[in-house]
């Protein structure tokens, strides 16, 4: 069940089939629902996300079924399928296909086709079938037996009509109109006329944002790298101009090269920040020209800003003495496009005493936190990817080894600092409940320094295996 706020009360926004069977209705206070159904799982309703998901669904239907798709409230979609159904095997097949595909995506849906929007709406809200086709001209007959609530009327009007004994659409259709309008307003006749198709009901179809794109056809296929570079140079400025018109900057660019053998080569450029600087984009695209295989020639080039975001204006320098921070986003783009995502990173501190957990990688343009590692404890310059076991001889419980063998070389310990005890993080798992490591910084006779540790505290078996490991190299 989903709960949300209506004014000051927490009410039921939506309930699943089992809950509805137990008597829950939308609009009921949450406390009452919980009394009715002990053990009810209550989750917060997120209308914004619901709406966004509905819009995504609408876009999908727009590509799949018909170009005219509109949102209907929070839980419905309107499709104008005139002229589209025969392409999909007729109305019944089309409806079944839509419902089946939605079911596959975990959405239970009911669909109906009728002459008017109002009739289709009424059918989906009142009948139990999932894909119903009301044949042309028969919507009046279908509507007649339906409850008044299916007419998209306000709840008070429906209750008022029920008080008068008017529960079916047929009742109000045959009743004299003037008294009804006088009592309930013009809404009732408008909805009635819309359902019967006596007045037009315009819908507001959604429109996907057009991607910013430019393209160019070539009379003669091109293949040479210089020619490709020249035409990229001609495509980028108009793209940047149209980005500027919309106040956007590109985050991702796709350059599609249609070859004469109808294969498509793609070059993708990702950007750390929205950019519409032609020079910068041109440079990033030109970097990748060598990856293009022109084959027998390229006859068409499309440059699309697949992902565009609004450019934010920032104040450059806030005071006269302050030096402007160098903008690294250009460099970051260059390197990231060359090496791939994830090759560029900053390192941020994590509050953990376990050395390998005390660092985390963050994206290069992540905001800087003021967290820092503790200063007092010396840390090695190189930390081995995984600690390497060493053979040692050491006195228990808290003495460093007298010598140790690492990678086949025996080293005598001249002096040592420690132990620095690091306890396991018990909240991570049961195995770390009692675990401990004793770290020592040791220097051998040649002056090389190592960071070694013993798994365990040297006294209690449950704290670790008591074996020694080399974890890092000091300078």
């Amino acid at each position: 069940m989903l709960a949300g706020r209506n004014g000051r009360r927490r009410v039921v926004f939506a309930a699943d089939r089992a809950a509805r069977k137990a008597g829950l209705v939308v609009g009921m206070p949450v406390a009452k629902a919980q009394v009715l159904l002990p053990g009810l799982s209550v989750m917060d309703a997120r209308p914004d996300e619901d709406r966004a998901a509905l819009e995504r669904l609408a876009l999908w239907l727009q590509q799949r079924v018909t170009p005219v798709v509109a949102l209907n409230g929070m839980d419905g979609l309107i499709l104008d399928t005139t002229g589209a159904d025969h392409l999909l095997g007729g109305e019944a097949v089309m409806l079944r296909d839509i419902v089946r595909r939605l079911e596959g995506a975990g959405i239970s849906a009911r669909a109906a086709v009728a002459d008017t929007l109002g009739a289709a709406y009424a059918v989906t809200r009142t009948t139990s079938g999932t894909a119903i086709v009301v044949p042309p001209g028969e919507h009046a007959a279908a509507l007649a037996d339906m409850p008044v609530a299916a007419l998209r009327l306000p709840a008070e009007t429906v209750i008022g009509l029920a008080d008068l004994g008017l529960t079916r659409i047929r009742d109000i259709e045959t009743a004299p109109r003037a008294p009804l309008v006088q009592r309930f307003g013009a809404e009732i006749t408008r909805r009635l006329d819309q359902a019967y198709g006596r007045v037009d009901e315009p819908i507001l179809p959604i429109r996907p944002a057009d991607p910013v794109a430019v393209s160019r056809n070539f009379a003669e296929p091109i293949a040479a790298a210089e020619t490709i570079a020249r035409y990229i140079g001609k495509l980028v400025p108009p793209l940047c101009a149209s980005l500027e018109e919309r106040g956007l900057g590109a985050r991702r660019l796709d350059l599609l090269l249609h070859r004469v053998d109808s294969a498509v080569q793609a070059v993708r450029v990702a950007l750390a920040r929205p950019v519409r600087d032609p020079k910068h984009l041109l440079r990033l695209l030109s970097e990748q020209i060598e990856t293009i295989e022109p084959g027998f020639g390229i006859e068409r080039m499309d440059l699309v800003a697949v992902l565009a975001e609004p450019m934010e204006r920032r104040q450059q320098v806030s005071s006269l003495i302050e030096e402007p921070e160098a903008d690294l986003s250009g460099l970051i783009d260059m390197l990231a496009n060359r090496l791939g995502d994830g090759a560029l990173y900053r390192v941020a501190p994590v509050e953990s005493d376990v050395p390998e957990r005390s660092v985390q990688r963050v994206p290069p343009l992540a905001p800087v936190t003021d967290a820092a590692w503790p200063e007092g404890w010396p840390r090695p310059t190189r930390l081995l990817p995984r600690p390497e076991p060493i053979e040692t001889m050491a006195m228990l419980p808290d003495h460093p080894p007298v010598f140790f063998v690492w990678r086949g070389i025996r080293r005598k310990v001249k002096c040592a600092d420690g132990p620095e005890r690091v306890f396991g993080e018990w909240w991570k798992g049961d195995t770390e409940l009692t675990a401990a490591r004793d770290y020592f910084q040791v220097e051998d006779t040649s002056g090389e320094r190592f960071w070694i540790y013993r798994a365990g505290d040297g006294e209690h078996g449950e704290t670790g295996s008591q074996r020694w490991f080399l974890h890092g190299l000091f300078a």
Binding site: D327, L339, L384, P401, A416, E448, R449, L473, A475
Partner: protein, 271 residues
């Protein structure tokens, strides 16, 4: 020791002529001093020139790990202004240690490049960017051509380029003898630290060899890197003349001066 070369007017004009022939810009490059007079005196211009390429390698066993060389490079990068690009092939650099060398994590942008070719390409790209204070790259093989490209890129960018030489095999380390276009070439080897009057490990001590410097002489220094500082100091400061105290040469060096407060309550042991 010879007199300081740049005092001689004849040499100065000759050097200017050579620099013109080499196609350098006429303006004098800024330098980044070490803050240690003995080292700075050996370097033309009194420090590492900005906008040029410098090479650092580890000596002995450290040639493969380049731990001391990385710490040395971090110290130099920490003293520059602005962001630092650090290009690695193996991600085993431990950022808390960079912070302890004076280079805050928020200043470093790491790049993990798989191959030497990518490293050099990123290195060049970074050096060409005017907004970076220093670019450090862990490079194995560095040819004359590649280093010349890097040097030209550094000249156009203005940041300091530090090629941290790191090889995969000990035998490859002989590559360090090959000529490159770098302005200075350093080798950092670990030395046993000065014994402390109490049990424990003293400050790290390095043999810092200036193997090559353009228009200067090579030299050796024995330095100590102090915990939490980017500046080095000469080791065994007590046998230097007292006038050197202004140059961060700490007379207490041989006495085992160490920060004590954060280590209070810490157990120590020695072998």
């Amino acid at each position: 020791m010879t007199a300081e070369p740049h005092k001689k007017p004849g040499l100065e004009t000759l050097r200017a002529a050579i620099s013109r022939l080499e196609g350098h810009t006429s303006r004098k490059r800024a330098t980044l001093p070490f803050g240690v007079r003995d080292i700075d005196r050996k370097l033309p211009g009194g420090g590492l020139t900005l906008g040029t390429l410098h090479e650092v390698a580890g000596g002995g066993n450290d040639a493969l790990n380049a731990a001391a060389a990385a710490r040395f490079a971090a110290g130099i990068a920490a003293r520059t202004k602005g962001q630092v690009l650090w290009i690695v092939t193996v991600a085993d650099l431990f950022a808390p240690a960079l912070q302890q060398a004076g280079l805050a994590a928020s200043r470093v942008l790491f790049v993990e490049a798989g191959t030497d070719r990518d490293v050099l390409a990123c290195f060049e790209e970074g050096l060409r960017h005017p907004g970076l204070g220093a670019v450090v790259a862990e490079v194995g093989r560095l040819t004359m051509t590649a280093s010349r490209r890097l040097q030209l890129a550094a000249e156009s960018g203005g940041g300091i380029g530090l090629a941290l030489r790191r090889w995969r095999r000990q035998t490859d380390a002989a590559d360090f003898g090959q000529p490159t276009a770098s302005t200075t070439r350093w080798r950092v080897s670990l030395l046993p630290s000065a014994p402390l009057p109490v049990a424990g490990v003293g400050d790290s001590r390095w043999l810092l060899e200036l193997i090559r410097t353009r228009s200067g002489e090579s030299a050796d220094f024995e330095v100590e890197a102090r915990h939490g500082q980017s500046k080095l100091r000469l080791a065994g400061a007590s046998d230097r003349p007292a006038t050197d105290t202004a140059d961060h040469v700490d007379l207490a060096a041989s006495m085992g001066d160490r920060p004590t407060s954060p280590r209070a309550g810490r157990r120590r042991a020695s072998a």
